[in-house]
């Protein structure tokens, strides 16, 4: 769905690149996470892929279209949800969706169905300018689904939302992906990336440092430990046991056999820990 080769971009049109030598490919049906801190080059890359920024150097193909010579019909196949809500404040939620719906040349979803999906149907006829930040964000999000996109660009889809709404958004992304939608997810939230993505790319200072699945990354970079909290002679004990050392494995078996375990969890690395380990920088 996306092929990127040797992509460079400089806002000042000199050697000061915001994105440099970026290569990656995204297969149909994949959820691909672009993970990095603010200013890493995530939005610049997405801007180029969606045609909002001009391509300067490199090759980019999106849903079969060369982005150097984009055709407007390409946008019948893609949907873009922006980090900053950008809806017409003087139009109602329904009017906002209806306007964009009529711009597509393909079959579109019903505006009211989408509003119901994210719990905005009761304010369908209210002007979007009177919405809270979270409501505007949801409206921006569902607008990007109007054309049932084959390729869906999501820029920080859960940022600033309360946990219940964020969970709802993630469920929608999973559902659409199960229906075959390819997702390009830009985020600095490792939990969202971990939960949704088949593969993630770590980008920092405009360069991709690593691309792999969250599982592989955890296997490669995480430590295989189990933390067990158990009662021994009515005293609560907490032990960290390696899954690679025979002695620790035997001890774990012994604790399991004793049947007095209160808590037990594996201690694989989080994506954030791996990001810091690989790039030497945090995600915020």
């Amino acid at each position: 769905m996306i092929k990127v080769n040797g992509l460079y971009h400089s806002y000042s049109k000199d050697e000061n690149y915001a994105v440099k030598n970026v290569d990656f490919e995204i297969a149909k049906g994949e959820v691909f996470g672009f993970l990095g801190p603010s200013g890493a080059g995530k939005s610049t890359t997405q801007g180029i892929l969606t045609g909002l920024l001009p391509i300067q150097k490199g090759e980019v193909e999106v849903v079969g279209y060369d982005i150097r010579h984009p055709k407007r019909e390409m946008f019948n196949k893609i949907g873009v949800s922006f980090e900053q809500s950008n809806v017409y404040g003087k139009l109602t939620a329904l009017e906002n969706l209806e306007f964009y719906r009529k711009l597509f040349d393909v079959e579109t979803m019903k505006s009211m169905d989408l509003l119901k999906w994210v719990g905005l149907d009761h304010v369908a006829n209210k002007k979007a300018g009177e919405f809270s930040k979270g409501m505007k964000h949801r409206l921006t999000f569902i607008r990007s689904m109007l054309n049932n996109p084959e390729l869906w660009f999501l820029d920080e889809p859960t940022t600033g939302l309360d946990p219940a709404i964020a969970s709802q958004i993630k469920d929608i992304v999973k559902e659409k992906n199960n229906q075959g939608t390819t997702v390009f997810l830009t985020t600095h939230n490792m939990y969202v990336a971990d939960e949704l993505c088949h593969r993630v790319a770590f980008i920092i200072d405009g360069e991709i440092k690593l691309i792999d699945s969250p599982r592989n990354l955890k296997l490669q970079h995480g430590e295989k430990f189990v933390v067990v909290e158990h009662l021994e002679n009515d005293v609560l004990k907490k032990e960290q046991l390696s899954l690679d050392i025979d002695q620790d494995k035997a001890r774990l078996n012994e604790i399991i056999s004793s049947g007095k375990i209160e808590m037990m969890h594996t201690k694989e690395a989080t994506l954030e820990e791996i990001f810091i380990k690989v790039t030497g920088r945090g995600l915020e």
């Binding site: 920024l53 946008f75 893609i78 873009v80 922006f82 009017e95 009529k102 597509f104 921006t140």
Partner: protein, 344 residues
């Protein structure tokens, strides 16, 4: 075309929900009210003349007979009364008439702002007025009129071309830029840019909004002031052409900037330059060649032709053609530039 129409309907809805539209309508109504109730059909330019005579009784009668009777001449008793009256009416002039060695002499009292030519004109006027009453005096002055059928507009109607040019040709330039930058600021331009629509459709829709506003305000104003005595088909043509030109120019200028603040300076220069031909329009003696090449000059004068009963129709048609062509070229240039800069 369907997408252009949808975009236009959306923009129209936004305009009706916004302030700009009502401000334009409000300004047109204020202009109409000022023309109808404040500005007279024709400005009166008569000048009051106060005279005090420091003469004997028989001499006073003689001078009064020479001056005859006129509403503009007021005889007062003293020089002090002349000065008091002139302080109240800053356009008035006065004279004190005396007798010196059996000759009538007069002393002019002026406001102080009159230049030499004005002073000479007033003196010649007074002397001429007196001379014309001397028995046996005849004038050898002949008057030849170059344009026998020249028409004059009333002062009220004469101001309409100035308003229409400013409203349609110049303010359109400014307001369309404001619309574009507002969309940029709200980020909605990005959402539009990732829909299967062309940049020209977005720009054309904005121009159609400007045209709608221009047509409403222009037609309301002209109908209220002039009535049905002009050719409204030509008015339609002129407004469409000038509006197209003005808004396309506004789009082209906007394409070089990413915020309204940055564009303001250039917009201001353009608008000020476009206002200069107003001087030539209201003061025909100032009419240098360089002012004639400014776009608002033909705008004003072709609109004035339209106001005449027997205006130059070919001039009007030529201007419609020229401005439509210029507007189209500017629109193509703006579209070309915006393809690269609209979302950057």
């Amino acid at each position: 075309m369907r997408k252009l129409w949808m975009t236009f309907l959306k923009d129209a809805k936004l305009s009706f929900n916004g302030l700009y539209f009502y401000m334009e309508i409000g300004m047109a109504l204020i202009f109409i009210a000022v023309l109808l109730f404040v500005i007279p059909e024709n400005f009166e330019s008569s000048q009051k003349f106060y005279v005090a005579m420091e003469l004997e009784g028989t001499d006073t009668d003689a001078v009064q007979r020479l001056m005859g009777s006129s509403d503009d001449v007021t005889v007062v008793d003293t020089r002090f009364e002349i000065e008091s009256a002139m302080k109240k009416d800053r356009s008035a002039v006065g004279a004190v008439i005396k007798k010196n060695e059996n000759k009538f002499v007069y002393e002019m009292i002026l406001q102080g702002y009159e230049n030499e030519s004005m002073k000479n004109l007033i003196r010649a006027g007074i002397e001429g007025e007196v001379l014309s009453h001397i028995p046996g005096f005849s004038s050898e002055i002949t008057v030849r009129t170059l344009e026998m059928n020249s028409e004059n507009l009333s002062d009220r109607v004469n101001l309409i071309p100035v308003y229409l040019t400013m409203n349609v040709g110049m303010m359109g330039l400014f307001i369309i830029a404001a619309y574009i930058f507002l969309d940029k600021e709200e980020g909605v331009i990005k959402a539009y840019a990732v829909a299967p629509v062309e940049v020209w459709q977005y720009l054309a829709s904005k121009m159609m909004i400007m045209l709608m506003m221009g047509l409403i305000t222009s037609f309301v104003t002209v109908l209220a002031i002039v009535g049905f005595s002009i050719n409204y088909l030509y008015l339609l043509g002129l407004i469409v052409a000038f509006n197209t030109f003005g808004s396309a120019l506004g789009l082209f200028i906007s394409s070089f900037f990413n915020t309204m603040v940055k564009a303001m300076g250039v917009m201001y220069v353009f608008i000020m330059m476009m206002m200069l031909p107003t001087i030539s329009y209201l003061m025909p003696s100032f009419n240098p060649v360089w002012i004639k090449v400014l776009p608002s000059y033909p705008m004003m004068f072709s609109l004035r032709e339209l106001m005449f009963e027997n205006g130059d129709q070919s001039y009007i048609v030529i201007q419609i053609g020229i401005y439509l062509l210029l507007g189209l070229l500017l629109f193509i240039a703006a579209n070309h530039r915006f393809k690269k800069t609209l979302t950057v």
